[in-house]
Every structure is written in structure tokens, then in C-alpha cells.
């Protein structure tokens, strides 16, 4: 599904190249659940952003679903991730002015879906996540775990093949964290959604099928569980 070849990423700082990623080569198959680990500054989030097409590599090739991403035009690229990718963030990133229902509905709006279709999909997800009763609340009326649940629900609404999660449990207590990880595992197993998460926690990493350790911008270890 994903193939990264010789990916480099650097910033120019005062004439020096400051490397974030160095020669990353990675293949990810459909249905995998991958945890990216590593100390702060090892390039985890950058790698995730490149995979999510929010950022571009300085050098290298990125093939997603047989398409060479860096050669695509802005429009095609956004069409690609609109169709295939869902994001989950550490800070949830819900739109504060919209209710739970409307937040989940937002990606569908940008897919130009009809109102009745959207209603059905959102209702379905609300039901599945058990948050029907919270649909008219605003994000600041929810607990962190509930907000992250909405964040995942929103990512799922557009039926993605790939979910990218950047420390999804970073702001949650351990019980809430466990629930979220269980949910990811279930999505991976039952729906066959590919998941790539960035995490600091060994315990959370263990939910996945493969752990990739980054160190100073290089892949240090690549362990299949």
C-alpha cells in the first residue's frame, strides 16, 4: 500500500543542513497496524506527516496505492488523502464552534455528499461509538477521552483505508487510553483499516503488528510482533 524509498528531510539552518529524516525505506501492506516509536526529535511526527501528505520530503520517492505522491499536483494529492486517509491527533483538533454531530459530518461535506447520505453515515458512527446522546454537545463539554472518540469517529466517517494517529492517547489517562487503543485494534481487525500510530508508550505500541523504532532520523529497528 505504502512504499517509502530513500526519504530524506532536512531544514536549512544558518547554512547547515539540519536532517530530520535520513534515508528512510519502508513498505507498509494493507491491513497492518504499525507503531512508530523513538525519542523526542527522532523524526516520528515528520515521518507521519509525510505519509499523511501534510508535508513533503526533501528527497526520495513516496508511492501510495501505486501513485507517486510527490509528482502529483496539489489537487490530486488532496483528492487522494480525502479518499483514503483519516487523521487522529493528540490534541483531538475538533472544531470548537461545531457540535459533535457537525464535527463528524464535516469531512462528508467536503466529499460533496448529499445531506440524507451524510445523515445516515453520521448516525451510524454515533451509534457504533455509543455517543448518540452527546451528538448536540460542543467539544468543550466533553472529557478528553470522549473528544478523542469523536476525533476517531470523524476520521472514520469518510471510510478511510488508512488512519494516521499522532500520539492519540498522549492527552488521556490510562483507562481512556486503553479504550482508544482497543478501538484501534478492533478497527484494524474487523474493518481491515491500516493504522499507523506514533507513540511513546511501549504498552500502546504492543497493540500493533509491527514496531518501527526511529533514532536520529534513521530506522533503528523494524520489529514484527
Amino acid at each position: 500500500m505504502i512504499a517509502l524509498k530513500n526519504i530524506f528531510k532536512w531544514y536549512n539552518v544558518g547554512g547547515n543542513r539540519n536532517f530530520i529524516l535520513k534515508d528512510i525505506n519502508l513498505d507498509i501492506q494493507q491491513g497492518e497496524f504499525i507503531s512508530i516509536m523513538g525519542p523526542s526529535g527522532s523524526g516520528k511526527s515528520t515521518l507521519l506527516n509525510i505519509i499523511g501528505m501534510l508535508d513533503e520530503a526533501s528527497e526520495g520517492t513516496y508511492i501510495f496505492q501505486d501513485q507517486e505522491v510527490f509528482r502529483l499536483k496539489e489537487k490530486q494529492r488532496s483528492q487522494l488523502y480525502k479518499d483514503y486517509i483519516g487523521f487522529v491527533f493528540q490534541a483531538y483538533h475538533l472544531i470548537d464552534e461545531l457540535t459533535v454531530y457537525e464535527n463528524i459530518e464535516t469531512p462528508l461535506i467536503y466529499k460533496d455528499m448529499k445531506s440524507s447520505e451524510r445523515k445516515a453515515i453520521v448516525a451510524d458512527i454515533l451509534d457504533r461509538f455509543g455517543i448518540v446522546g452527546k451528538k448536540d454537545l460542543f467539544p468543550n463539554q466533553l472529557s478528553g477521552g470522549q473528544q478523542q472518540l469523536v476525533g476517531i469517529a470523524r476520521a472514520l466517517a469518510s471510510k478511510p483505508k488508512l488512519i494516521l494517529a499522532d500520539e492519540p492517547t498522549g492527552n488521556l489517562n490510562s483507562k481512556q487510553g486503553e479504550e482508544i487503543m482497543e478501538l484501534f485494534k478492533q478497527l484494524n481487525k474487523e474493518d481491515g483499516i491500516t493504522i499507523i500510530q506514533v507513540t511513546h508508550s511501549e504498552k500502546n505500541a504492543a497493540y500493533g503488528s509491527r514496531i518501527i523504532n526511529l533514532l536520529d532520523g534513521r530506522i533503528d529497528t523494524n520489529t514484527t510482533l
Binding site: N49, L54, D55, K75, S78, Y81, K82, F87, F89, A91, H93, L94, I95, D96, E97, L98, E102, E105, T106, P107, I109, Y110, K111, R154, S158
Partner: protein, 790 residues
Amino acid sequence: MLKNYFQTAWRNIIKHKATSFINIFGLSVGMTAAVLIFLWAQNERNFDSQPDQKQIYRLTTRVPSIGWVWESTPLLLAEAIRTELPDVQKTARLNTNNLPVVSLKGNLFYGKDYAYVDDDWFSMFNYRFIAGSTTAFNANPFSIILTKSEARRFFADANPVGQSLHIDSVDYQVRGIVPDASPNSSFQYKAFLPISALLTNPKIRANDENWDNANYITFVKLAPGVNMERATRKINDVIKLKGKASDNVPVSMISLSDMHFETEIQNSVFNHGNKNTVLIISLIGGLLLLIACINYVNLSTAKAGLRAKEVSIRKITGASRSDLFTQFIGESFLTSLVAAVITLILVRFFLPLFNELTGKDFDFRYSLPILLQVSGVTLISSFILNSIYPALLLSSFSPINVFRGVTILKVKDNTFRKGLVIIQFIVSVILIAATLVIYKQMQFIQQKDLGYSKSQVVSFALPFTINRDRKNALLKTMKQELLAQSAVQSVTTSNQPLVNMGSACSGCADWAGRDTSLRPTIAQLSVDEDFQKTMDLKMQSGRWFNRNTSDKHNVVLNETALKTLSIREPAIGQQFVFKGDTGQIIGIAKDFTFKSMHDKIGPLVIFNNADWRSYFAVRISGNHTREALAAVETVWKKNLPEVPLEYSFLDEQFSELYTEDTRTSHLTLIFACIAIVISSLGVFSLVAFEVEHRTKEIGIRKILGAPIKGIVSMLSADFVKLVFISILVASPIAWWVMNKWIQNFVYRIPINWWMFAIAGVIAMLITLITISFQAIKAAMANPVKSLRTE
């Protein structure tokens, strides 16, 4: 999608109540000012509009030898044109010189806005009849057509057609009702009487049928396609045929569409506009709208940081840049639309005040179609100004930067915002400086030594319809009777009130040593022996007229006359011939201001011929104003029971000379206030955002020991700099504009640098007060709190 956008927009408005309020309120105030100004400007530019406006012309009489330009023509000209020239489809005449005396419930009053017109007046100017018609009006001389509101005044709600009104001791029958004059009509009359009624007076008829007397304003409607210049030539041929061939008094034509902005007529009966004024005021309207829009743009971009997260999330969930652009454009439109609705409410509320200011009579209901048009244009222009930049900026955010915490707003955007603030303050400072200059000039006018005393003098005139013998007798007896009253200090009679003397002649004087090529226009004032005392005029040399008749042919000159006419020294005792009367110069009066300060004091001859006089001026003793007025009324009623008394105070007449200037002064003050209020609102919320943005910095600085003063000045410094730049740019512009304006006055104040300095200080103070409100609050806040929330 729309619903989603709308909801986000609406909830954003609600969430930031204070700034939204400032945003929408500021925009509404600017839009209201703009809408009212554009309403007025549109009205001025569409004066007397009617479908065949281009075919209708008014005739102008020119007397080139003495430079007179009149809008009046001889009575008989219209008929002659109609019979001689087939190119002229229609003619209509107007006479407003004769004021009918109307009686209502036993009270007599002059029909001030009553006009004498002829048969085709109503068809020429497309009057729509609410009731009745012109048929009976044209057939019977003693007819009257009323406007709706004048009819209501006389007959309340009863049907007026067929009723009669007592006018000039004759019964006039009401033949029809027409709507009130619209605000863009030159013909602001309340009632119309037939010219044939006027001509039933044999004296008037004899006078007006003389081809040398021009007392009627004549309008002609040319057949389509007729060349105006050719028609003018033909009309002049007709005049030569009918009038005295010796007098070269050509007639020209002006189109009805140009009449409102015509400038050359002396003593026009119509209210004229000024193209430059319309242009300047429209420009100010546009500027007020612009600075209101600047507020919106500045606030939206300042708020951009708060919207960045939303923008990023929307992008990540699949929104394209154009989706977001549409969203923010829509938001601007929503805000502008809300502001437009508030504007209409404000317009409705402020329209009476606006009418008072402009002297117009706009009715909200009647003007609604035009108002909606004007509001629509204002809405669209404000929408365009408001939407594009913020939408471009907001939709440009890259999500990755936002989530990384990279500062979203680049220096460039800050500079842009500062530039906009500078524009706002330039406009404000110019308007404040203008207000100050105008105020100083008005104060100068009020305080200038006029050379006479204008307070506590009431004046009135004998009607010019009474014959000379009776008038001269009345001048004597009424003066005696008034002097007998204890509330009256002194009484004098003259040919015109002192405040604004229009009467002048050219080539009517001769004196020893006159340069024969010199035919100066000399103002002429006929007075009695008490004039100097009553008006408190000062003599430079010689003496005033005596009570005895030996002074009947003598004259008093003013200082300017002495100088400009080059009278031989010693002036006193020199022979002076005035209007064929040979007498002596007996005195030189010090110059006094007998015209508005827009005009130069020219040479003046004061003479003593009673035949000319019909004006009374009564100086009231002490503060017995009420008793004096009662005395005037009693004396008038005893001697002239059949004529209404109309009096006015000299200082009122004086103020009337400056009605336009007072209006300008009020308008400028209001414009300045609006500009500074909107600009301050903008600064207020910009500072609020600045404070929000720098909470952490302020907290750290406080912990490091910064005093409150230091933090306040840190927050103010930027804005103070901006206002300072504005003052530097605005001052020369204001100087240039005001220097132009003040050239309208012959007697004027010098424009000083300190006027602009004060304007600058005012703008700076207002800004500082605005800023300190927020800055002190931020500086006083507990730093622990602000750091914790970070």
C-alpha cells in the same frame, strides 16, 4: 455545506461577542453615514429629473453692460414665443415675487411657498393629481391647487376640492390636490395660483405687461430634436421684435437638468446645489465607509490566529482552498448583511436629524426604493472591501504549520494592518482639523466687529403693494407711535435691512474729478436721520443727516467709497450727484459689514430720500423684548389691519447669511466624530487582540519586574507611532483642503499650524484613552494566572 458554514460563522459571532459587536456596530455606523450621504448625493445629482428633462429649458436674461444675470423674463415673452415659434411645444411661467396674504381661522399670513403659475405648468412638470384637475384651474382666475400637506393644514381630513380659501380678500376655490414636492424638485411649493389672478390687479398688470420688466420665470419645452442654440437665436429675434430695439438684453437657455447646479444667477428663487460640494461630501461618505470596512478587515485578520485551527482541521478533513475561501467570503457577506439591516434601522432613526442638517425633506417610506438601491450599493462595496483580503489570508494557512505552532501571521500582514490603521487616522485627523478650522472661522464671523450693533434690533417691512403717499405717511406715523412705547429705545427707517444689502446701482453717481471711464457698482442705502444712532454706526469725519429737510439731497459715504471713488480732499463739502440729485458729501461713515463675509465691502452711498424707504428697524430698550414685540404688533395692526406682520431680528438675519456655512460646520463635526469613533473602535479591538496574543509575554515581563507603566507603554508604543505618522500625512492634506475652503471668505482667519497640532493632539489623546483601557487591564492582571492558562 452552507448550513455548516453558516453555523460556524454564527457561533463565531456569538462566541466573540465584544469584537463582533464592535465589528458590526462600526460597520453599521459607517454604512449609515454612507447611505445617508449617498441618498443626498443621488438626490442632488438627479434634480428635477423627468423623462423629457432634456427638452425643457429655462430662459436667462443677461444685461451685459452691468453684468446682471437673471432667471426672470418679461411676462409677455412666453406668449410671443408660443405664437411665433413652432419649435417650442409648450411654455410655462412662474412668479414667486408676489406673496398672497392668506387668512386661516382669522389669522393672516403670507403664503411664502405659494407660486403663481400658468396653464401649462402642471403638464410641463408632470404633476400627478390626487384630486381635481387643471381644467377648472385654467378656466377661472380665482383658483388654487394645493399640495397634500397644505390641504390637510386648511381642511384636515375633509375633501378640499370645491372648498374655498380667503386670499388677498378674495375667495379662491380649491381645484385640485397634488402630492408634496419631492426632495429632488426645484419647485418646493405648497400651493399654486393662476397668473391670471395676479393680473386682475391693474397695477401689477400694467407693470408686468411692460417688456422692460422681467418678473416671470419662463420655461420652454422644445420639440424633440430641436437645436437649442437655434431656438435661442429665434427667441432673441422675437424679443427684438417686441421689446425696445435699443436695449441689448439677450436671452439664453439652460437645460432643466443643469439648472440645479447653475451658479451665475443673482438672487435665484430656487435652491441651488454645488457640484463640488456634492463631490466632496460623496468622497467623505466613501471614506467613512472605507474606514468602517478597514475595521472589519483588521479585526478579521487579527482574529485569524483564532481561526487557524479551524482552517487547518477543515483542510485536513478534505476542504480545498476554494471551499475555505467561499466560507470566509460568505462570513463577510453575512456580517455585511447584518450590518446593512442595522443600517436601515439606523437610517430610519436618524433621517429626521439628517433632514434638519441638510435642509431637505426625505421621507423614509417615500425614499425607500432609492434607499434600498443606495444601501445595496453600499452593502456590495463594503462586502467587496471586507471579504477578499481576509478570505485570501485565512484560506492560505497550511495545517502543518498551525499544528506545529509556527506563527501564522507573517510580518507582512502586520504591516498591511498598520497601513490600514494609518489610513483610518489620516481621514480622522483631516476631519478633526477641518472641524477646528471651520469652527475658528465661524467664531471669527460671530465675534468680528461689524461696525454696527446687531443685537436687540427687530426689523419689518411695509408691503410694497401700498402706494407711495400712504407708505410715506405710514413711515412717519408708525415711527412716532413706536417711539411712544417705553420698550422701544429708538426707531429708524431704511430701504433695506442693514445685515445683507443687495441694492446697488452702476453709473448713477457723479462727483467732482470723476474719471469718466469709471462706472463702479455702488451700494445704495436710503435712511432717515436716526439710522446712525439706532444702528450704532461710527463716523470717521463729518456728520450724519439732520432732521431738517436741508439734507434731502446730501449724502454720506463709507470709507471704501472715499478711497475707491477717488473723491477730492477734503471730502466733506464736495459736490456729489446721486440719481440726479445734486447735494454735498456731509460725512464719511466708518466701514461696516453690510454683506456676508464671503463678499468684500464695496463703496456705499447713504442718502436721505424717503421715497425709497419701507423697512423699519426698532432697537429694543434693555431686555423688554416681549413688550417691544407686542408694541410693534399693536402699532402694525392699527395701521395695516389687512396685512400680516412679519418681523425678524437682525441677529437672526445675520445668522441666515451663514446657513450654508453652519451646515458645513455641523456636518464636518459629525463626520469627524463618526470617523474617530470608528477608528477608535478598531484600535480598541486590535489592542484587545494584541493583549490576548501577548498574555504570556506580559506575564513573564511582570514576573521579571516590569512596572505597569512599562507594560502599558509597550502596548501603546506601536499605535502611538501609527497615529503620529497619520498626523504627519494628514496635516498637509488638511491644510491644502482648508486653505481652499477658507478662500470662500473675503474676511477670514489665517490658518495656523497649531490648528493641525491640536487636531493631532485630539486624535492622539483619543487613541491613548482607547488603548490604556485595555493595556492597563492587561498590565494589572496577575501574571501567575496568565502563565497558567498558557
